[in-house]
C-alpha cells in the first residue's frame, strides 16, 4: 500500500519506541483539501468574455498562496467569506457557523455552544474538528471544542471553510462528521488601524483595536486587542432551588448563602479579553514565514449543581469560572517549483480551564509537515506527517475526577493522498488515507475514495466513501463522575447515602464511521446555483454506559451504583443538505438552505444518562432546518440584510421548534467609517436552543438582542 510505503519511509530511522522521545516528529496537516483541476491558459483567460470572467467561480487562494479548491471539490463544502461574516451581524465564530447549511448551532448559555453537523450534537460534541489558522482547537479532554476559548477579531478573518462529512483521511481522527477551518488574513492584508466598538442589550459592550504596520521590505505585522461583555441569559425551566444556592464571594473566601436574586435570569454573564499578533515575512523568492500568537482570559458566571460532602445531597454553587490560555504558532512554506510546495508548521498551545467542578491545565505541542507535488501530468500527490503531544494537570472534585490527575498523551500520524485526472477536466479520482498511532487505541487507519465528474459546463456530480474514527478522550479513559443521590438518613436513620457514579474505561475503543456521500452542483442559469448533498452514515462502537457494579454494601457511605462507559451502541444516520443561491441583481443576493437528518440508534446501554449516553441522542438533534437569507445593497452605501431561520424541535431536551429572525442595517458612511444596527432573535423575547450536558449547570434561553456598532479604519 502506498500509505505503508510513506510510513516506512518516514519511520526508517527506527521503529517507534515507548518513550516520548521518538523521533517521528514530522507532522501532517493539509490545511486545504486539494482537489484542483487544471485551469485555462493565460491566452484562454484573455479570450474569455468579461461576463464569463466575472461569473467564474474562484478558487479561494489562501493566505499562504495555496489554492484551496473548495467549490470544485468532491465533498460537501461551504466557504463563508469575510463579506458574509461582516453582513451576518454575528459576534462570535460559533454564531457565524449558523450560515453553514446543515450545521446545528445551539447556544447552551452565554458562553457555551453545542455545534456539530450530521448529528450527535451536544455541549461536548466530539465529531467536529475545528482549526484556527491550522491550529487544532480540539481538546483531548473531551474530544471536542471549548467554544468559550476560541475567538479572533471577526474583521480579520479571511474566510471559514467548512466540510460536512468525514475529513479524517486528511485531517486525522475526530474529523468524523465535519471540519471547520478558520483562516485569518495575512498581516499585509490588515495594514493600518481598525477601531471597532458596539453596545447593546445582550451584547453589552464590545471593543476591538487592530494595528498593522511594516517592519521592513516584505515584513508585515499586526497586533490586536479585543474585549467583549455579554449579558446573562434567561432561565430555561424552573431553575435550581434558590434556597440551596451558594454564592462564591471570591478567591478562597468560602461560600455564603444567597440572598434573593432577581428571578428568571440564568446568572451566566460572560466577559472575555484577548490580544495577539501576527508577523508575515514574504521575501521575494520561494519562502513565506508566518509567526502568530494569542492570549486570552475569560470570566464566565455559572451556577452548578454540586454534591454536599458526607451526606451526598445536592447544593448549588454560583461562581465565576476563569478560563485563560494562549498559543504561539510558526509556519514555513517553501515553494520548490510551480508544482511542488512544502509546509512545516509547529505550535504550542496552553489552556487553563478553572471550572468549579473541574480544573484543567493543558499544554499541547504539535508539529506538522506536508508536501504537495505533481507526479506526471495527471496526478497531484499530497503527503505529510505529524506529531502531537498533550500534557494535562487536573484539579479534581467530588463531582468530576480524572485518575491519574496528570497524564501525557501522544499521537503520531502520516497521510498520503493522490488526485488522479482520469479524464482531464472531466473526471477526477482522489484516493487517500491517514494512518495514526495514539496512546488510547493504538493504530487507526482512515482511508477514503472520492470521485468527481464534471458532466458539462453547468453540472458536476461527486461521490465519496470514507472511514473515520473518533478516538477516545482523556475523560472517557479516566474519569470518575458522581451525581448527587439519596442523602444519608433519608431512607432510615443512619442509612448511608446512595449515589450513582459513572466511570471511564481504558478499554474503550474508538467510535467508527463508514460514510457514503453523494453530491450535485448545478448552475442552470448564470444567476442561480444549487448545491445538493446526500449522506448515509454507519456508526459502530458508539459510547454508552452499563451498570457494572451495584453491590449494595450498606456498611459504607455512600453506596455507589457504578455505571461504566463502553462501546455499546451503533447507529445509522441519513439525510442531506440543499443550498440554493440566487443573484437576483448585482445588488441583491438570496440564499435558501434546507437540511434533513434522520438518526436510528441501537443501544445496549442499560442506564440512561441523557446526551452523555446514546439513547436520547436522536431526539437532541434537529431533524430539519431551514434558512432564508437576503443581502441587499441600497443606494448611499446602505446595506439591508435579513436571515429567517427555522430549527426543528429537540424532543429529548424539551426544546420546541424555533423560528428566528435576524436583521442588519449597515451604512458605509465613507471609506473609513461603517455603522450598523443589528437585531437578533427578533420574533420572540426568549427561546431555548439546547441544554447543558452532564455537568449540571443552569439551563438557559436566548433573549432578543439589539446592538449598534461602529467601525473606523485608518
Amino acid at each position: 500500500m502506498l500509505a505503508n510505503r510513506v510510513i516506512n519511509r518516514l519511520f526508517r530511522m527506527g521503529p517507534p519506541g515507548n518513550t516520548g522521545r521518538r523521533l517521528l516528529a514530522v507532522a501532517a496537516l493539509l490545511v486545504l483539501a486539494r482537489f484542483s483541476m487544471a485551469e485555462p491558459t493565460p491566452a484562454e483567460l484573455a479570450d474569455m468574455n468579461i461576463e464569463d470572467l466575472l461569473n467564474a467561480k474562484v478558487v479561494v487562494s489562501s493566505v499562504a498562496r495555496r489554492p484551496g479548491t473548495v467549490q470544485q471539490s468532491p465533498a460537501a463544502v461551504t466557504v463563508i467569506t469575510q463579506e458574509d461574516i461582516r453582513r451576518s451581524g454575528s459576534t462570535s465564530i460559533a454564531e457565524v457557523l449558523r450560515m453553514v447549511p446543515g450545521m446545528d448551532v445551539a447556544k447552551v448559555d452565554s458562553h457555551e455552544w453545542a455545534i456539530s453537523t450530521r448529528g450527535f450534537n451536544d455541549l461536548f460534541a466530539n465529531k467536529l474538528l475545528v482549526m484556527i489558522d491550522g491550529r487544532s482547537v480540539y481538546t483531548s479532554l473531551f474530544s471536542g471544542t471549548a467554544w468559550d476559548a476560541q475567538d479572533v477579531i471577526l474583521d480579520d478573518i479571511d474566510r471559514i471553510e467548512v466540510v460536512r462529512g468525514p475529513g479524517a483521511s486528511l485531517w486525522g481522527a475526530n474529523a468524523v462528521n465535519g471540519v471547520v477551518n478558520v483562516v485569518t488574513k495575512s498581516a499585509a492584508e490588515t495594514q493600518g488601524m481598525l477601531v471597532s466598538a458596539s453596545a447593546g442589550n445582550e451584547e453589552r459592550a464590545y471593543g476591538a483595536f487592530r494595528y498593522g504596520g511594516k517592519l521592513g521590505d516584505n515584513l508585515h505585522f499586526r497586533v490586536y486587542a479585543k474585549y467583549n461583555a455579554r449579558d446573562e441569559s434567561a432561565m430555561f425551566g424552573t431553575g435550581f432551588p434558590e434556597a440551596l444556592i451558594k454564592i462564591d464571594t471570591g478567591s478562597n473566601s468560602g461560600t455564603v448563602t444567597a440572598g434573593v436574586p432577581p428571578p428568571r435570569t440564568a446568572h451566566d454573564a460572560w466577559q472575555m479579553a484577548r490580544g495577539g499578533f501576527r508577523v508575515d515575512w514574504d521575501p521575494p523568492g520561494a519562502d513565506l514565514i508566518t509567526v502568530q500568537g494569542d492570549i486570552y482570559r475569560s470570566w464566565e458566571d455559572q451556577t452548578y449543581q454540586r454534591i454536599t460532602p458526607v451526606t451526598f445531597g445536592a447544593y448549588y454553587e454560583r461562581i465565576t469560572d476563569i478560563v485563560s490560555g494562549g498559543n504561539l504558532l510558526g509556519r514555513w512554506t517553501h515553494t520548490f517549483s510551480n508544482t511542488s510546495e512544502s509546509i512545516l508548521q509547529a505550535y504550542y498551545d496552553r489552556s487553563d480551564r478553572n471550572l468549579s467542578v473541574l480544573g484543567e491545565s493543558r499544554q499541547t505541542f504539535d508539529l506538522d509537515f506536508q508536501h504537495q507535488l505533481a507526479v506526471g501530468e495527471r496526478q497531484t500527490v499530497v503527503w505529510g506527517a505529524g506529531y502531537r503531544r498533550s500534557r494535562d494537570q487536573l484539579r479534581n472534585t467530588l463531582e468530576v475526577a480524572l485518575v491519574p490527575p496528570q497524564r501525557t498523551t501522544e499521537v503520531y500520524s502520516a497521510f498520503v493522498q493522490d488526485e488522479i485526472a482520469v479524464i482531464p477536466k472531466r473526471l477526477s479520482l482522489t484516493l487517500g488515507s491517514r494512518l495514526e498511532h495514539n496512546d488510547f487505541t493504538g493504530e487507526e487507519f482512515q482511508p477514503n475514495a472520492r470521485l468527481i465528474w464534471t458532466a458539462n459546463a453547468r453540472n458536476t456530480f461527486w461521490a465519496a466513501v470514507s472511514r473515520a474514527v473518533r478516538t477516545p478522550s482523556r475523560a472517557e479513559d479516566d474519569f470518575q463522575v458522581n451525581f448527587p443521590g439519596v442523602p444519608t438518613n433519608v431512607l432510615f436513620p443512619g442509612a448511608p447515602a446512595i449515589t450513582v457514579g459513572i466511570r471511564g474505561n481504558r478499554d474503550f475503543d474508538s467510535e467508527k464511521l463508514t460514510a457514503f456521500e453523494i453530491g450535485y452542483r448545478t448552475q442552470p442559469i448564470d444567476k442561480l446555483s444549487i448545491d445538493a448533498t446526500g449522506f448515509y452514515n454507519q456508526y459502530s462502537g458508539l459510547r454508552g454506559f452499563r451498570l457494572t457494579n451495584a453491590n449494595l454494601d450498606f456498611t459504607h457511605s455512600p453506596v455507589v451504583i457504578v455505571a461504566t462507559l463502553g462501546n455499546l451502541a451503533s447507529a445509522e444516520t441519513y439525510g442531506g443538505e440543499l443550498s440554493v443561491n440566487l443573484r437576483v441583481t448585482p445588488a441583491w443576493r438570496l440564499r435558501a438552505d434546507y437540511s434533513v437528518l434522520k438518526m436510528q440508534v441501537h443501544s445496549d446501554t442499560t442506564i440512561n444518562l441523557g446526551a452523555l449516553g446514546t439513547t436520547e441522542i436522536a431526539g437532541s438533534n434537529p431533524q430539519q432546518q431551514v434558512a432564508l437569507r437576503s443581502w441587499l445593497d441600497l443606494p448611499h452605501g446602505l446595506e439591508f440584510d435579513t436571515t429567517l431561520r427555522w430549527v426543528d424541535e429537540l424532543p429529548s431536551l424539551n426544546v420546541p421548534a424555533c423560528l428566528g429572525l435576524d436583521l442588519r442595517l449597515g451604512w458605509r458612511v465613507s471609506d473609513r467609517l461603517e455603522l450598523s444596527l443589528v437585531g437578533q432573535n427578533l420574533l420572540d423575547p426568549q427561546h431555548p436552543e439546547s441544554k447543558p450536558g452532564f455537568f449540571s449547570s443552569q439551563a438557559t434561553e436566548i433573549e432578543r438582542s439589539y446592538y449598534v456598532k461602529a467601525a473606523i479604519r485608518f
Binding site: 484542483s36 491566452a43 448585482p586
Partner: protein
Amino acid sequence: MLLISGSALAQSVPLREYSVKAAFLYNLVKYTDWPSRAFSQPNAPIVIGLLGSDPFGPVLDRIVEGRTVNGHPILIRRAAGVAELRGSHVVFIGASESGRAAEQCAAIESFRGLTVGDTEQTAAFTAVKCALEADRVVFTVDLTRTSRVGVNISSKLLHLAKSVLGRDDTAAP
C-alpha cells in the same frame, strides 16, 4: 471532444483568484478610453504598473502578451515606489502598500494613472476596487476618481459593476 468553450471553462473549472483578477485588469484596459494626450504616439504602449507586492506573478504578463488595445500594445511595469511608475495608465496597488495607500493613490492620480486595489485598505482609495464575494470576483467603480484622471470607462463594463459610485453626484470633489 474535450474542447470546452470559454463559457464552459467559466463554469467547470475553478479559477485562481489572481488569474481572474489579472484577466479583469486586461479587460479594464480594454474597456477604458484614454484621451489621446495620454499617449505620446498612436502606437505607444498602455502601461499597467504594479506597485509593491505583486500578487499576479507571470500570469498577467502572459495574458497581455501580444495583445493590443486600439493599436496600443500593453506593457507591465513593476516597481516598489510610485516615482518609478510615473506615466503608467493603470496602477494596481499591491497589498504591501496598505498602510500608505492614500498617499500613493494621490500621487498616482497626479500623473493621471487609474488606480486599482483589492484589499480592504487599498480599495478605500482607488478608482476601481476588486473584491471576492462568495466565490466570484466583483468590482466597483468610483466615477469621481475616474473623471479626476480623465478616463472614460465604457458603459458595458459599468453595467457589470457591482456598484458605481459618484454617478449622480458629479458635483462631488
